[in-house]
């Protein structure tokens, strides 16, 4: 009897001890596909090791549209989760509304200003204070290619868009689809911004960050639209509404030669048991070899009540930037770590080249935020650009000159 009582007391005491310092974090995210879920589970395990409770709040739906809808209703109801997967200018929008908490003490202790490249930390701050923690950096301007298809059709990997067109014609003549593409607005925009970037980072920044009317109406922009329209010939008839991963599998199966897609495509190749450099190759999108279009995923921290919850939230922010999580998460996700000076040996050749390009481009000013992935402009302007780009790609009668005019007007109307 005594023994049992003693045992129970110890259990009770240890429980009490655990609950005294442990808190609960509720994390809203849309990492729901196999590889993604495995990636975020790493963070969950780290939090549980620290004695906290992880309340998973996963909302399925690729671009996070449903997740954002849920987040808004929770925020309006005055009950936001501790952390939510928000990125780019949207962090600023939430910051302006006063929902985000200040992480400066965690950032200072973890030396975030030192370990994060300036471009990354800039996105994570609102009003000069850290409000979010970055989990990864995606490079968007990638060209994924199946070397087997190139061999069979006697073509070589293009490094400029003009070359792309000549090579794609050869591939088409050999009976393959030159460009695997999914006709969804964001995929159209991904292709479009890769072409725009080949006109140089200053042009890109002026168009998609500065939203300069002059640049949007310039001859260069008309050229971009011209090239973009030509891509229409190189996609197969079934492209409309196709998901990006289906397009990737066309490259994997050898039905298509190339795909312009961010490095999350690598996850599909890996899942299919393909090896980088052997079964598939990765190159920067034509004409953008020195440049890097980034897309940074991050978890923004909301203001929550309760000391224990706040403590858990700070621990979450700290763990996100620790090397262990950054490495495991990004190995699973196909992206590269947001923090610098990480051991590289676990990563593959595509990731290495991504890391090199990331560092190099940040010094040459060729590191640019992705418009298609909501890093450059807010969702209103982005939506306006999407509409024009995707409509132009599908409307055979629209000329590039009309498109440029529409683009400039749509951007102005949405500001």
């Amino acid at each position: 009897m005594k023994k049992i009582a003693f045992g129970l007391t110890t259990v009770a005491l240890s429980l009490a001890a655990a609950t005294a310092q442990a808190g609960e974090v509720e994390v809203l995210h849309y990492w729901t596909s196999g590889g993604e879920a495995a990636s975020i589970n790493v963070l969950k395990d780290l939090m549980v090791e620290d004695g906290h409770t992880w309340k998973d709040f996963a909302v399925a739906g690729g671009g996070g549209e449903s997740a954002m809808t849920v987040l808004k209703s929770r925020a309006i109801a005055g009950n936001p989760p501790s952390a939510a997967q928000i990125k780019g200018p949207t962090i600023q929008e939430w910051g302006e509304l006063g929902f985000l908490t200040n992480l400066d003490d965690v950032a200072k202790a973890g030396e975030w200003d030192v370990i994060l490249p300036g471009v990354v930390s800039e996105v994570m701050k609102y009003d000069g204070r850290y409000v979010a923690a970055p989990v990864n950096v995606h490079r968007v301007n990638w060209l994924w290619a199946n070397p087997e298809v190139f061999r069979k059709s006697g073509a070589s990997i293009p490094t400029t868009w003009d070359q792309f067109i000549t090579e794609a014609k050869k591939i088409k003549a050999a009976g393959f689809t030159p460009l695997a593409h999914g006709g969804q607005a964001w995929q159209d925009a991904t292709l479009f911004e890769a072409i725009a970037l080949s006109k140089g980072a200053p042009f890109y920044n002026s168009a998609f960050l500065g939203l300069s009317d002059k640049t949007l109406r310039s001859q260069d922009m008309i050229d971009v639209f011209d090239t973009f329209k030509q891509m229409r010939e190189f996609v197969d008839p079934g492209f409309s509404g196709r998901d990006w991963n289906i397009a990737t599998s066309m490259v994997i199966n050898g039905d298509a030669a190339m795909q312009i897609m961010g490095d999350w495509a690598k996850g599909e190749f890996t899942a299919a048991g393909k090896k980088a450099g052997v079964d598939y190759v990765c190159y920067p999108a034509p004409g953008t070899s020195g440049a890097f279009t980034f897309n940074i995923d991050s978890l923004a921290m909301f203001k929550v009540d309760g000391k224990d919850k706040q403590a858990a939230q700070k621990d979450l922010a700290r763990l996100i930037l620790e090397p262990k999580f950054q490495e495991t998460f990004n190995l699973n996700k196909g992206s590269i770590p947001a923090r610098l000076n990480m051991p590289r040996d676990q990563f593959d050749s595509c990731a290495h080249s991504s890391m090199d390009a990331f560092l190099a481009s940040s010094t040459t000013g060729q590191l640019v935020p992705s418009m298609a992935h909501g890093m450059a402009v807010n969702s209103m302007v982005q939506g306006a650009i999407y509409d024009v780009v995707t409509n132009f790609f599908n409307d055979e009668s629209m000329t590039s000159k009309e498109a440029v005019d529409k683009l400039a007007r749509a951007v102005k109307a949405s500001m």
Partner: protein
Amino acid sequence: MNTKAAHSGSGPTQSGRPARLSLADWMPKIVMAPTVIMTVVCIYGYMIWTAVLSFTGSRMLPSYNFVGLDQYERLFNNDRWMVALGNLGVFGGLFILICLFLGVTLAIFLDQKIRAEGAIRTIYLYPMAISFIVTGTAWKWLLNPTNGLEKMMIDFGFEDFKFDWLINPDMVVYCLVIAAVWQASGFVMALFLAGLRGVDGDLIKAAHLDGASTFTTYRRVILPSLKPVFFSALVILSHIAIKSFDLVAALTNGGPGYSSDLPANFMYAHTFTRSQIGLGSASAMVMLGCVLAILIPYLYSELRGERHE
């Protein structure tokens, strides 16, 4: 109980047992109150809220800086909205007409006292049991040029067969019509069949005695007497057309480009994913206007009809 009912019905001058009387009087109202309040708040309340928001500059979250009719002005200057409205016209018009035509025809055929009517009726009606999401997904596969109907015909040897409406911005709206008609015409058939069965048999016999052919009987006697059914079907179909969202979401997702967008999809995209609650609310109000434009004449004719009786 009888006396109570008589009391309450016989006028306000009654003074006997006032406490019990009023409780009995109030009982139905008390019982009904929660549902009435729920309906008023959750339907009309939110309707009014949306109307208010449509006059504000709300972006990511609702805010109350009133900007007058700005959002409506922006809305009607928006290419995509005009495409969505035009699509609603084409889609709604064709969908309603074809559904009514097919529904009436099928109902008349089924009305000929044929064998296995029950089985055939079930087959026709069954699509209605499927949600538009499933319909949209299934038709997306059927209409996809690389693995659907077109491929099947080519595999059968018709090398030149071409059916690429799904990826043709000019034709894609007709794909929506095909799928929606497939789904809803069986339902219209069921409505009309019920109506046909309700027509007085003596009337038909009388018409036959007067020497009217079956065709004339249907045209001059039976169908005119089905006017209320026709109106109900029209109202229900127009509602389906105006609120159509899931079919587009599953079948085309508004694409190619935004050429198959309908107002509901526009509203969703702008309110929830593009942080333009004001603009989205304005578009919702225009949709409400469309519904009212159909509903008010209908209600008017219905209520007037009652008064005549």
